[in-house]
Symmetry: C2
Subunit: 720 residues, 2 copies
Amino acid sequence: MKRFFVLMSCICSTVLLFAQQKATWIWYPGDFEVWLSNDMQNRRTERGTFFPPFWKMDSHYVLVEFHKEFDLPAAEEIQIHAEGKYNVKINGKMLAGMPSRVKLDKGKQKINIKVYNQAQVPALYVQGKNVYTDKTWLATFEDKEWIDETGKASDQSGTTYVHAGYWNFNEAAQAPSEFRLPTRPQEAVQQQAQGKGTLIDFGKNTFGFLTLHQLKGRGKLHIYYGESREEALATQTCETLDILDVQLQNANDTTLDLSKAFRFVYIEPDGQVQFEKVSMQYEYLPVPDRGTFKSSDEELNKIWEVAKYTMELTSREFYIDGIKRDRWIWSGDAYQSYAMNYYLGFDAETVKRTILALRGKEPTVSHINTIMDYTFYWFLSIYDYYQYTGDKEFIAAIYPRMRSLMQFCLDRRNADGLMQGLAGDWVFIDWAEGLSKQGEVSFEQLLLCRSLETMALCADLLRLPDDKHTYAAEASALKKKLFDYYWNTKQGAFAHSRIDGKRTENITRYTNMFAIFFDYLSAEQQQSVKDNVLLNDNIQKIVTPYMRYYELEAMCALGEKDYVMKEMKNYWGGMLKLGATTFWEEYNPSKHGADHYAMYGREFGKSLCHSWGASPIYLLGKYYLGVKPTKAGYEQYEIEPYLASLSWMEGKVPTPEGEIELYVSKSKIKVSSPVGQGTLKIKSTKKPRVNRGEIRQVDKNSYTLELEKGVNYEVEYAGV
Amino acid sequence: MKRFFVLMSCICSTVLLFAQQKATWIWYPGDFEVWLSNDMQNRRTERGTFFPPFWKMDSHYVLVEFHKEFDLPAAEEIQIHAEGKYNVKINGKMLAGMPSRVKLDKGKQKINIKVYNQAQVPALYVQGKNVYTDKTWLATFEDKEWIDETGKASDQSGTTYVHAGYWNFNEAAQAPSEFRLPTRPQEAVQQQAQGKGTLIDFGKNTFGFLTLHQLKGRGKLHIYYGESREEALATQTCETLDILDVQLQNANDTTLDLSKAFRFVYIEPDGQVQFEKVSMQYEYLPVPDRGTFKSSDEELNKIWEVAKYTMELTSREFYIDGIKRDRWIWSGDAYQSYAMNYYLGFDAETVKRTILALRGKEPTVSHINTIMDYTFYWFLSIYDYYQYTGDKEFIAAIYPRMRSLMQFCLDRRNADGLMQGLAGDWVFIDWAEGLSKQGEVSFEQLLLCRSLETMALCADLLRLPDDKHTYAAEASALKKKLFDYYWNTKQGAFAHSRIDGKRTENITRYTNMFAIFFDYLSAEQQQSVKDNVLLNDNIQKIVTPYMRYYELEAMCALGEKDYVMKEMKNYWGGMLKLGATTFWEEYNPSKHGADHYAMYGREFGKSLCHSWGASPIYLLGKYYLGVKPTKAGYEQYEIEPYLASLSWMEGKVPTPEGEIELYVSKSKIKVSSPVGQGTLKIKSTKKPRVNRGEIRQVDKNSYTLELEKGVNYEVEYAGV
């Protein structure tokens, strides 16, 4: 009931918003995202010490001009709010001072407002009946309005205008620089004396600001955070801590300034310091509940719920990797968050924000996060975004930055047209023992090839035939090289790398499994990769949920959904059995006890709430509920449910227009959709029967049903 | 006496500074300059309205790492101050929290400090016995310190380190973001009732913050500023004004927030507002008095003094164009300020600051100030700086930004290898009626050629033979084109432009006069240019002191110093006769009365205190006192005094080591120098006699005397 209520209030406020409030704060596109991500990413601490990212952080333009032309049916008054010093021109005439209210006449009105702010992002909010700021305003960081000796302005402008950036700051009082995620109070489940201090348990891994109730006295309070009990009690090795200097004569409720990740908190006083109890302010990104999943398998349901909570915790101002560390935006990690989000909250704004923040601004001096593969995931994420949302506006806005980043990549190819790690390039691929990064790694060429295909697709979308042709030709040439240089016919798989121009004998899973769901392989090659690599225990195993995601996706693409379901239950179910309340950065079933918490040579180095741990959301939505768009924004889509070991499952998959709802048992499929044209694919040993529409047979045991939006279908069939 | 005292106190504080205080605030080079120039340039107002620059403004890096390695003779404690959040690593080990004091052991100590600040420039001040921040520290905006799965840091770094930026913030308390120019109180010379208000006269054009003494009452105070009496009284058309909202029950001294330029201030109350008197806080850049000039010609002395005061007013955080408007840094204007400064304060820091601020940062998307010629002056200014100061460290620091800006220029050449105005390029040249900017203007090619020569010189200095060769070859090819495409043999001069690949018949002074002092012309061509262009009244005359500067310099180079002296007295003396207390942006002797104050189609649009008006300082120092370095930093120099119409002159010319002092009459030259090896060139009808050294005859009536530093020479001669 509670959930229903939340959803309703959410819908109501959305309706109100569009009815009464059209204006929104605007800025130079990407600038608020850069500024906010700088702020967020510099909140990481390690044992109380500030721990910033190591890559270049960009800055907003300090002086921005916004403008739009209107044709007003009647005179009106506008209100102007700005973050920064500003001036206003109406039809080319500068107004006196910094006017907060301006009267506009009927008829053509061109409004130009320049805002200057070094400390924060220059932002603008104009509110009037017909004249108000929104994404249709244009912005520039240079207007090049020079004059001749008579004071006449130049007629040849070299200024580039772009559409203004915006989010959802729809009230004048919601100045972008004041943005904070909301919080809500949350109680601990247990508080007990422990050694010289107090151990508090919040029942599950969580994130927010600790509140010490009725704090008083003089002295220091040492606060040790733990994603595990062991970590909180390991005062010498826990990853995060606070040392609070208390000087309070009268008892006071004190909430700490900096948010932290924890399930357990161990507090030791040093001096005469007391407190009554500890609670927290849970900090979260408000995203409506949209995607759901439920089945006859309670373990699977638990996996989905814990994955959902892991996503909730790692979806913040931006999609971050983990809540304990790094609290940074990593492109490879975010790429998976986007995909999970399409099956959960369908929060397009956070995807866009994260993509903008990752790209940053010119000049491009290194790969995204300095990691070569992470640059490529960034490209891939953009076409995915378009495919799920159908939002061409964003593709148009980001395309110039795609183009310049691709040029950066192409300029770094060697004489053979391949990319290898130059000074400053991190070739990451995966956390895996002894994984070679030397020479020309096939995985990087594969991702570059896919990125070039993405460029060609986006260029085509934006009707840039020259660009399309260039990128398509590059992609095709590189794809040929991929097979010529790396395909090992004898081993029936792609080699891991070339060194000094020679193919190595090393075979790893990465290139091979990506090639499957990129659909680069013939049926024969697919089978060969499946047998010789994916199902071959002699090939180094993957231990991170990060790459498990792709490995299982490849197996799904190969139709091995029973296998994947078994793996999923083993792997994620394995973490649950160890008491996980959120999914981990890495899970190796062969480890024991607190050894699970170690990583990077540190006792509690591992993040126990890591976004890439939440992939069951994606796998269950895309390959079991089986829903995916086949044309941008679900204009067309497929539903290919796969029940596997379950006796029934049901769920919702969000789309731009609402949720596709699905119930599947061995004998019945119920489906309704608010969007596009769908195709339901049914495996059945007999011809299915349906209440509406027409079942078509495709093959033995294969049928389809075309779905119209707004119709409730009920299919009776005999599951294979 | 007062001047002597100021000078002494200045020297003392310098001595103290170096003896007791070695640490200084450091930052990423150029970042403070960019930040401060953004702040300064956005202080312009026009009739009370914020009036920002129209070009792109850059930003500081928000996260900077500083480091240095030491080998300490004994343990010591350091104090750390930072503008921003920071962390400290000693020998690779992170310290807890943000420590303000750190104990260092004896022996090798590597100190890394990372500072984060979005609002202001990340800056650092470390103070210890041996460990203290200075220009030898290294800085970077990305350290690319990634790790493998074991936590081991990468050994292949792509990080670029540069030497830290600094100025003179040598005390911990002098945080860079707190920087303000000093002020001193200054009284008005007259205050009188005028119409409905009060007119105040400060006796001369000045700059600072107005103080209203014993202000009280309720209502508005309208404050109109004027560089002329007419302007202050023209309440509808004066360029700057303030409207003060007064709500004071008790009388109060109120100083305004924003500095303004004015000689006259007219104040009209609106409501019940009263004040007793008006004074001001004069705001200035403290620069020691070093260059001087005095002669038997009182008018010339007055010209020099007014030029000096004009320079004082326009030398601020940076060299600006004018104090009323634009209060911006314009590269072409600054280029002249630098040259004047070498004959006045020899303030290397302000030259460097201005050069850094003008260049800004990558990406380079337009010409400096959007003006093509202003980009080229920027290049020229750097070699000049080296020639006068001998400061190779700065050349090394700025060279990467020279290289990328030159690439920007070379990439914008057309198929003929020439530059013409593309969209967004302002081809300025000069304020002159009907001056054509169409096609390929010869003046721009000439400046590009000189800029390429500058690149070759700097590359040579930094021992970059490949760069030197590339730029020298480009320069030489372009120089050939300049003569092939533009030299009009019939008219004996360079044409103004080519349009559609054809040379125009238009001849203007610009290219021709610059070619003279760039020494691009044969003796014959020089004579032809002199007769057919410079002394030809049919060629459009120059009306700005900006281009008068170069025209007179060309005439000086041609030996026409009597002509130049006459022009100088006519032109600058003409402004003095009109009551100028500072020199103007433009002076046309044929105008009358308040018409002199109009420009850009505005009644008081003209700046009456414009840096380019101060060029007599440069001309008198370089061509009459006749002092100039012939090897960088005055390691070698020439003195070629020219007395002209004067019966005597004396003066000082600053050098990196102190002042060259000179007295010249028709029969005696006295000279002493604290620097390098000098050559005194003497024109005399008989062989001169000298107290020290040896006179050599060069030619009929031409003699030289080699000067050793620290020696007082007295030469008796018979002036030609």
